[in-house]
């Protein structure tokens, strides 16, 4: 193929059942390269389940998930990350006892050639590579305004900083698609505005696609190019923010009437 496909991620007829419960049913959904897509819906609609299927935590009961034309079904989460999908978590999962810099550094490991043996031998190549990683880490932290916390244990950061560190860490794996699971949860109004700017900035700078699960409509409507709405595991609407906002089904299931 000379030209890469436009579609980056494709869910075809994806169904996930847990015993008798159908969490997601026959979902068709796709994300293009460098697209910023929002996934919304009431609690329990299956948004996080979709996340977990894409990242390999769950295996779809039926249907297929493909990324850059390759099926991801049956792959382990770490293999999927290696393919170019990175995520953040709804409840922050940092490496708490490690320094802020090490949190990002660990995520670079996939782009480092040295393993056990070169780590033991510590030759010139090893040192050069470690130096390169260290400068990439510093650069990443500067972009996210975390530079001054370089050696601070991650768990002693403020909530907003932890959220940002989690995004920085995910980006360090150099993904093509970034999944953000409720990044605005627990943030105040000004932090949310800052977050919207950050997401837009990341997308433009790294030229990646972003899938955003979020309850905060200001954030979702403000930055997403396209929005899909889930309810009871089914996609009830999809389209531009303006269309989705007017969709009667979405208003009934999720947004509610403003009057």
């Amino acid at each position: 193929m000379s030209e890469p496909q436009r579609t980056l991620l494709q869910l075809t007829n994806c169904t996930i059942r847990f015993g008798g419960l159908t969490a997601v049913s026959a979902l068709n959904f796709e994300i293009d390269r460098e697209e910023l897509v929002g996934l919304i819906g009431p609690n329990g609609a299956g948004k996080t389940t979709v996340f977990n299927v894409i990242t390999g935590v769950y295996c779809p009961t039926e249907g297929d998930v493909s990324f850059s034309g390759e099926s991801l079904v049956g792959r382990k989460p770490h293999q999927i990350t290696a393919h170019g999908i990175a995520r953040t978590f709804q409840n922050i999962r940092l490496f708490g006892s490690m320094s802020v810099a090490d949190n990002v550094r660990v995520a670079f490991h996939r782009h480092v050639a040295s393993g056990v043996l070169s780590g033991l031998w510590r030759g010139r190549a090893f040192h050069n590579e470690e130096k390169r990683v260290a400068s990439e880490v510093t650069e990443m932290l500067e972009i996210f305004h975390l530079g001054k916390f370089h050696d601070t244990p991650a768990q002693s950061l403020s909530y907003g900083d932890q959220r940002r560190l989690e995004i920085a860490r995910a980006l360090a794996t150099k993904p093509k698609l970034l999944l953000l699971d409720e990044p605005a949860a627990g943030m105040n109004a000004s932090e949310k505005i800052e977050l919207m700017r950050l997401i837009q900035f990341i997308k433009d700078k790294y030229k990646i696609a972003v899938l955003l699960v979020e309850h905060d409509m200001k954030v979702v409507m403000g930055i997403c190019e396209r929005i899909a709405v889930l309810d009871y595991g089914e996609k009830i609407a999809e389209g531009s923010p303006a269309d989705v906002r007017k969709n009667p089904k979405v208003i009934a299931a999720y947004l509610g009437n403003e009057n």
Binding site: F89, L94, G96, D102, V106, V112, G119, L120, V133, Q155
Partner: protein, 318 residues
């Protein structure tokens, strides 16, 4: 550039050699204690890679030690005479033989590590502890039932090749290997797997691989320690590698502070010396020893030597 770490390692090996040259002037009792300290440092630092850095609670370290002890003892008892008669009985020949015996012990222990690790590392926390405990017991029973290795009576007549040079060179090598591994971009993965396995996997780290590497490297050095122990005591028996020995090593790791190599080294030294210091009060020795452990755990649960800053940060979240 040779690197600071490797220079230090080389320095430590030279220092061990000098120490060995001076050993003629050291009281034999102190010599014994020193050897014990060195062996315990190897055991504790290597277990720290598994239990401390990677956070996989293993209670099978004495089992790997036993594998190494029996294997290397078998090499020097059964193959040693042939080897030495071919190469002459010189010091150099003995050194080569001993090194080979130790490495064989380490490698066989590492292979045992693969066999134990592959099925059991899917388990977490208490479950892994129980499985590794079971492994330790199985090893003990197996050695008790091999007549050619002495059975329940143990294996006697192991040549006394162990000296301060070997013990402290390998202690230095263990410290170097564990520190070097952990202090690299690859090696931070051990800590990441410890801190949050789900997140580690989402960052593209393969947790199983990290646990396996930790387990195999840990088992290798436990095997070396076992070999040194056998050639130091000159006789080994299965009872010496029981559950209590594993606990003793775990205590060193916990007391030193999980994932704190310097702390663990100090703890290994202190806990080897403590029973010796308490010798004058023979009858109450083990009671005092146990009481001290209880008090230390109550007062400093984060480990005796974990820096305040980190301890405070940890307390903040709990």
């Amino acid at each position: 550039m040779f690197g600071r770490a490797k220079t230090l390692l080389l320095g430590a090996i030279v220092a061990s050699f000098v120490l060995q040259l001076l050993s003629g002037y050291i009281n034999p009792y102190y010599l014994d204690v020193l050897t014990g300290i060195g062996i315990n440092i190897i055991l504790a630092v290597s277990l720290n890679l598994i239990n401390g850095y990677t956070g996989q609670f293993s209670l099978g370290h004495a089992g790997f030690m036993a594998v190494g002890a029996y294997t290397s003892a078998a090499v020097s008892i059964f193959l040693g005479p042939h080897f030495l008669s071919a190469l002459g009985n010189g010091n150099a020949a003995i050194s080569v033989l001993f090194l080979l015996a130790l490495l064989t012990g380490g490698i066989v222990a590492a292979i045992a590590g693969i066999f134990v690790g592959a099925p059991s590392l899917r388990l977490k926390g208490d479950y892994l502890a129980i499985v590794t405990l079971g492994f330790g017991e199985i090893i003990r029973v197996i050695f008790r039932n091999i007549p050619s290795l002495g059975g329940a009576l143990g294996l006697n007549g192991i040549p006394d090749y162990t000296n301060l040079f070997w013990v402290f060179s390998f202690a230095a090598l263990t410290i170097y290997a564990v520190t070097a591994m952990v202090n690299s971009t690859f090696g931070r993965g051990f800590l990441a797997v410890h801190d949050n396995e789900v997140a580690a996997e989402a960052m593209g780290l393969n947790p199983t691989k990290y646990k396996m590497v930790a387990f195999v490297v840990g088992a290798f050095f436990a095997g070396i320690a076992g070999g040194l122990y056998g050639h130091f005591k000159m006789s080994i028996d299965p009872k010496g590698f029981g559950f209590l020995k594993s606990i003793e090593i775990v205590v060193m790791v916990i007391l030193g502070g999980m994932g704190n190599t310097v702390g663990v080294i100090i703890a290994a030294i202190v806990l080897t010396l403590l029973p010796e210091v308490l010798r004058p009060v023979e009858d109450y020795r083990m009671i005092i020893y146990s009481l001290l452990l209880i008090i230390l755990m109550l007062v400093r649960p984060q480990g005796l030597f974990t820096p305040r800053k980190r301890a405070l940060a940890e307390r903040k979240t709990t």
